[in-house]
């Protein structure tokens, strides 16, 4: 269908081929293939249990896939532990918050900068002057990410003491602070009200504008349809359809299987 388009596009940033993952005999991913080129907002939608979060977890090295390959900038991700995958330029947020609750907002985001700094144990223990400089630098980077996510006034608060909506933004800031090439957002709009969702939409656009490719798993159809360049529809662990929002909304299989009323709602 749309596959001929890929031929003329630049080489893919992320290329996933016949990816399989099963849990105790249940196929969570049944041979998924798709590609994303750089500087896109690629949404992944599908009903609960379609394999979206599993796909993220495989991408991040949290699960090792049973078969298939994942290439990021031509490099195979399969077999790499999460921290090595992060080092290649992939960051993510989590569906169920994974903040460091006992640390301040600023510290959370500074952890996001971990890979951009290089202070080792000995230098840190002795607080060499290079460490002081780097700390200053990290603080600035973290503040930039906080500002981008509209969290400037919150930096000294404990992450665990924030309201839910702000916690989600801290996760976003933390992921952005890593300056990733590819950002995975797992249901960023869940639990947000309409105003917050609109702000989120703007934020995702700004993130893309800064040169970051976004993979977005989301149930909020108006957001998905208005923000995405392309959509991947998963159902029972396989690809049901792939295309632009307009193409997906017109796809009879998608309408039949899943979207239904949501399409009209979005248009």
């Amino acid at each position: 269908m749309q596959n001929h388009a890929a031929m003329t596009n630049p080489p893919p940033l992320l290329a996933i081929e016949t990816l399989e993952q099963s849990f105790g005999g249940v196929m969570a991913l049944a041979g998924i293939s798709f590609q994303t080129s750089a500087n896109r907002i690629q949404a992944i939608i599908g009903p609960n249990g379609a394999g979206k979060t599993t796909l993220f977890n495989v991408l991040c090295g949290f699960y090792q896939p049973a078969a298939g390959s994942l290439r990021f900038n031509g490099q195979e991700l399969r077999g790499l532990p999460p921290h090595r995958i992060a080092a290649l330029g992939i960051a993510r947020t989590f569906q169920n918050l994974q903040l460091f609750f006992n640390m301040t907002v600023l510290e959370n985001v500074m952890v996001g900068c971990h890979l951009r700094a290089k202070t080792g144990l000995l230098a840190a223990a002795l607080r060499l002057s290079s460490v002081r400089h780097e700390e200053q630098q990290l603080r600035e980077w973290a503040s930039e990410a906080l500002e981008l996510c509209g969290l400037s006034g919150q930096s000294e608060r404990l992450a665990g003491a924030l309201p839910y909506g702000l916690m989600k933004r801290v996760e976003m800031a933390r992921a952005l602070a890593a300056k990733p090439q590819l950002l995975l957002l797992d249901e960023p709009a869940a639990g947000l009200n309409d105003t917050e969702t609109m702000a989120l939409r703007d934020l995702i656009m700004r993130i893309r504008a800064s040169g970051v490719t976004v993979l977005l798993v989301e149930h909020h159809m108006p957001l998905v349809m208005s923000v995405s360049d392309r959509l991947l529809v998963l159902d029972y662990g396989s690809v049901l359809a792939e295309g632009t929002p307009a193409e997906i909304q017109a796809d009879p299989r998608v309408i039949a299987a899943y979207l239904g009323g949501a399409v009209q709602y979005a248009v």
């Binding site: 921290h83 989590f94 460091f100």
Partner: protein
């Protein structure tokens, strides 16, 4: 400022012997407290910040002590070199042990560290040819620091106070750095920390080694200061006491651990009078603190102070 608390603490440590010269509580108890602070601050890095319990920390304390004792008495090594050797031994063993042992969690980790502590203790008792067995090793020469021989309670107070302040300073630095944040992040959410590029295994291994080094250093100082070591000083009960110090003060706070160490040392000193009741009170205290103040004494008190301070500050703001 970042180190305000540290400077206040350092100033009081320096002032104590000036205000109370030749006071038993300053020199004798102070030395014991100082060593306990080094041990507790090191253990707190592992327990409080990395979230890994160790019920065998006395083993590393013992390794430092026995390395100094054996190398100086049997091989006439200079004391500083023996101390370095002790650090090397403890650090290497911690590093080798870290990977398999830190994969374990909760009760499994408790059992493994406890077992390790007992194994080392048994070796100290049994390898009598080297360690002197249950009777221990005596006549350990005094500590010699580049030509200066440490002698007398006053000088020992100085040396141990300096080592203690150094350990607190190092700990504060580590906690408030890229390394310390990585460690706390692993404790908060290991998965998320890994997704930030943190190698969790490496982070835990590093801090396990650091806390073993703190303990070994305290051990070396202890051996020279006492001029005698025996396995009793490195038993399971000592490991338990070290854990008590950390939780008594409140985990995940360097000063909390230090306060816990000082408080427990003073308590022991105070309970000498009620020798028969010491165990009973120790046990009851441990239970009571964990049940009623799981955050620890220091955290409980400092939270109260902070709240009070915030209240005063807000009132003044209203007036202004």
């Amino acid at each position: 400022m970042r180190l305000t608390g540290f400077f206040i603490f350092a100033a009081s440590v320096v002032l104590l012997p000036v205000l109370f010269p030749d006071n038993y509580f300053v020199t004798v108890v102070g030395i014991a407290a100082g060593l306990h602070v080094i041990l507790a601050v090191g253990l707190n890095l592992l327990m409080g910040y990395a979230g890994q319990i160790s019920l065998g920390h006395a083993a590393f304390f013992g390794m430092g002590a026995y390395a100094s004792a054996i190398l100086t008495t049997r091989f006439s090594w200079p004391s500083l070199l023996a101390m370095l050797a002790g650090l090397w031994v403890a650090g290497t063993i911690a590093w080798l042990l870290a990977r398999p042992i830190l994969r374990l969690r909760g009760h499994y980790l408790a059992m493994a560290t406890l077992g390790f502590g007992i194994i080392i203790h048994v070796i100290l008792v049994q390898a009598a040819h080297w360690t002197g067995g249950p009777d221990g090793l005596g006549e350990i020469p005094p500590l010699n620091l580049l030509g200066w021989t440490v002698d007398g309670d006053q000088q020992w107070y100085g040396v141990i106070a300096a080592a203690m302040l150094l350990s607190i300073w190092l700990s504060l630095n580590i906690v408030d750095s890229r390394i310390g944040r990585a460690l706390r992040a692993v404790r908060g959410s290991e998965f998320a920390a890994q997704m930030m590029g943190i190698d969790a295994t490496r982070a835990k291994t590093q801090i396990f080694v650091v806390s073993a080094l703190f303990a070994a250093c305290a051990g070396s100082l202890f051996a020279h200061q006492q001029a005698f070591v025996s396995p009793d000083s490195f038993s399971l009960m000592i490991s338990v006491e070290l854990v008590t110090m950390v939780v008594l003060g409140g985990m995940a706070s360097t000063f909390g651990a230090a306060c816990g160490a000082i408080a427990l040392t003073l308590l022991h000193e105070g309970l000498v009078v009620f020798e028969d009741y010491e165990m009973l009170i120790h046990g009851a205290l441990l239970m009571a603190v964990m049940i009623f103040l799981p955050q620890g004494l220091f955290a409980g008190v400092s939270q109260g102070v902070r709240r009070g301070w915030a209240l005063i500050a807000s009132r003044q703001r209203h007036k202004g």
